[in-house]
Amino acid sequence: MILTATRELAIDIGGMPILVRTDSAEFADLLEDRYGSFIHAPSSDGIFTLDVELIPHRVIEEDEDVRVRLESGRWIITRGDFRAEWDTRRGQGWVRQSANPYSIDGVLRILHSLFLAREGGFLVHAASAVRNGRAFLFAGVSGAGKTTLSRLAPPDAEVLTDEISYVRPCHTGYEAFGTPFAGELARIGANLRAPLAALYLLVQGPENRIEPVDPADAARAVLRNILFFAHDEELVGLVFQSVFDFVARVPVQRLVFTPDARVWELIV
């Protein structure tokens, strides 16, 4: 008889730990490597549980695109490389995937986007960093300069992510959290949180300057950069309202920058 021991790892992103359970010690090791400081010891504080069922590598769904839909209180999440279900009432779910870090990474992004939608928060395509105890977001599509700006960060700035920022409302406004979701920097962010001071829309230009952005343009720009996957009318409405609440409370400006370290002189 072969005994299998279930390994449990709490992956704590944005202050919302998900207890991940797997029967594979190798996969658990892989997760520890992938998520580093975002892995915590399992505790009774974990409110969410995700069971991983590993299968041989093969195409699970014909459709390569991610699909997220709600059926009888369960989110059904599918992509070419995984299938997952999430019971919203119990805060439990499972994912069926091969032993790779990319599939579960996709599941975690989607689950957090669902959790945040009900909290007034969101995931956004943005680099972020903490400086002098305050967080700054740098939003833009691929190629806008998120990774470049992250690479140029001075020693007194802690990079929270160079790709996907995590924003939650708090009693004083909003907080940004570090994430393990990395872009070209290929390095997980610092596992920190800090009050959000500003969001900058990145535009590369011949010099470094900050320009005002009118509120409607700010809302449009933030909406364009939001990560949201679910085909669900209620949650789409909630995310829309969250973005407008956000731009009403957080300064949104355009950061025109030339890729050298002096741009950080403006970020204080």
Binding site: P215, A219, R220, G237
Partner: protein, 102 residues
């Protein structure tokens, strides 16, 4: 035939900086409404006939009735296609039942 139009209750809409923005909850298309569109949107209470809304457009924006009617119908049709607005030949008092896919 008299036409009535009503905003979908599930739609997300906000006025910001004098600009009305609405998002289709069905496909997340974002619409920015100009002044004419904002008047139609805010008048779409399910009780005001579309011809009365068109008359208001003619008065407020000094536009010919036929042009205003065509613009309004095109605008309404687009919002209907995105699930943002409902159209009926009688006053609309409640959200119409959604047609489920079969």
């Amino acid at each position: 035939m008299t036409t009535y139009i009503a905003r979908s209750k599930s739609v997300a809409a906000r006025m910001l900086g004098g600009e009305m923005m609405i998002m289709s909850p069905r496909d997340t298309t974002l619409f920015n409404l100009n002044d004419v569109g904002s008047v139609i949107w805010q008048s779409a209470d399910g009780q005001t006939p579309l011809h009365a809304i068109v008359e208001r457009l003619c008065t407020e924006f000094d536009v010919a009735p036929e042009v205003a009617r065509q613009d309004a119908e095109t605008f309404v049709q687009e919002l209907v296609e995105h699930g943002i607005m409902h159209v009926s030949d009688r006053p609309i008092t409640a959200e119409p039942l959604r047609q489920e896919a079969t």
